[in-house]
């Protein structure tokens, strides 16, 4: 007869509780995702406008003095890794971490130094013993605004200017859809002057009077541009995390449901077997009595 009725009952109660939790987490993630997506939506006009101006400036101004555009032989590389603070979101963090690990392996094979700035606990925990970490920002993603991007930028900009490292990359999960996030790795510093092909379309924007000079304006806008890219990474990470968690919890909930169903079947079968056995006893008993009488 296998497990007793009581055992099966206990097991299915436990599974049901798990299911309630995963379902609640799924709903929490869904509402957080909605908020995160709204935030992304609201950020878009600002980001687009800034990119446009940065593009048109970078195409016009050939700056040799701006320290943030200085191209050096990239011997020391720094990567900002953006992950979530909490787990239970499927392969979300693993994907980013793997991407960065692959990248650092390639760079190290070329004899270069790689260090990490970790945003989010998971990335920090992963790289703790593997690569030097020069900055961490954890437990921030629950609530953040552009000032978090400023703090991250404050971590990287002065040290770039002081030539403590030569190239800065950013790696985060790009939010494609609820079910799909893809890690992207891009170079932040030295800030790319857009190549001429891209620059042409900006040429026509307008003939502006610049104040201060174009070059100074560019110097002012490059840090803003950097913050925009970092902030976008943060927003995508946060939306992606909730999306990934939603999917992971949805899967967990349906696995729980499958398990519950099979447990119920098992329970019913066991109960039926018990009833049949009892009936057999009674029938056997009455037959024995009848035979006696």
């Amino acid at each position: 007869m296998g497990a007793s009725l009581k055992d099966i009952k206990r097991q299915s109660v436990a599974v049901d509780k798990t299911r309630q939790i995963t379902r609640a987490m799924n709903m929490v993630a869904a509402s957080k995702l909605k908020a995160a997506q709204a935030k992304m939506e609201n950020f878009r006009p600002y980001a687009n406008k800034l990119m446009e101006v940065f593009g048109s400036l970078a195409a016009r101004v050939v700056s040799t003095t701006n320290p943030l555009l200085a191209v050096r032989d990239p011997q020391r590389i720094r990567v900002i890794v953006m992950t979530s603070d909490r787990g239970l979101c499927g392969g979300f963090n693993t994907n980013v971490v793997k991407e960065v690990e692959k990248f650092s392996r390639i760079k190290k094979a070329e004899g270069k130094d790689v260090s990490i700035i970790a945003v989010g606990k998971k990335g920090r925990d992963f790289f703790k013993k593997k690569l030097p970490i020069t900055g961490t920002h954890v437990d921030q993603l629950n609530r953040f605004d552009i000032s978090l991007a400023s703090r991250v930028a404050d971590d990287v900009v002065p040290s770039f200017i002081n030539e403590e490292y030569d190239e800065l990359y950013l790696c985060y999960n790009e939010f494609r859809s609820v079910a799909s996030q893809k890690p992207v790795l891009m170079r932040l510093l030295p800030a790319a002057s857009l190549d001429s092909a891209e620059g042409e379309e900006f040429e026509a924007v307008a003939d502006y009077v610049y104040e201060p000079s174009e070059e100074e304006l560019l110097a002012h806008i490059v840090p803003m541009y950097l913050r925009v890219l970092i902030y976008r990474g943060l927003l995508e990470t946060s939306a992606g995390e909730h999306g990934a968690r939603m999917v992971a919890m949805d899967n967990a909930t349906s696995s729980c449901e499958d398990m519950l169903q099979s447990l119920t079947q098992k329970f019913n079968r066991a109960r039926q077997a018990a009833i049949t056995a009892e009936l057999m006893d009674i029938v056997g008993g009455t037959e024995a009595l009848a035979a006696k009488g």
């Binding site: 980001a47 406008k49 101006v53 307008a206 009077v209 104040e211 002012h220 806008i221």
Partner: protein, 135 residues
């Protein structure tokens, strides 16, 4: 003639303001400047400071963060990292903040790496209080 300028203020969180106004004054890095309709195309960076616009002969004050402004003949687009309406700043609080910033700065020597940061914070606190008093 009743031509009006479209003023748009965009922050990373939202489109903070979008309306037609008669005039707008912006805190450019090279000094405050006013924009009326028909202004030449103009691009300027903005420092932390006071932004005000005139509509129906009434001035409204804001505290804005770093950013830049793009002006064409009919439209002024202001991109700033933060914005606060003067009437939403509590005077008392702003004063306390200013005092705290002054105290912090007093503790630091000029060579301290945090000196610049503290000084900047003090400037912001001062501007904030000044604007709060205008509303």
């Amino acid at each position: 003639m009743h031509d009006e300028l479209l003023l748009e203020i965009v922050t990373p969180d939202r489109l903070a303001f979008s309306d037609v106004v008669e005039e707008v004054t912006l805190p450019g890095v090279e000094g405050e400047f006013g924009v009326l309709i028909g202004h030449v195309p103009f691009l300027s960076s903005i420092k932390v400071g006071e932004l005000n616009y005139t509509k129906d002969n009434k001035k409204t004050y804001y505290l804005v963060g770093e950013g830049y402004a793009e002006v064409t003949g009919l439209k002024a687009t202001v991109l700033v990292e933060s914005i606060e309406e003067a009437s939403s700043i509590a005077g008392e609080e702003a004063k306390e903040e200013l005092e705290a910033a002054q105290a912090r700065l007093a503790l630091l020597s000029k060579d301290d790496p945090d000196f610049e940061k503290a000084k900047k914070a003090l400037d912001i606190a001062e501007t904030r209080l000044k604007i709060a008093e205008k509303s």
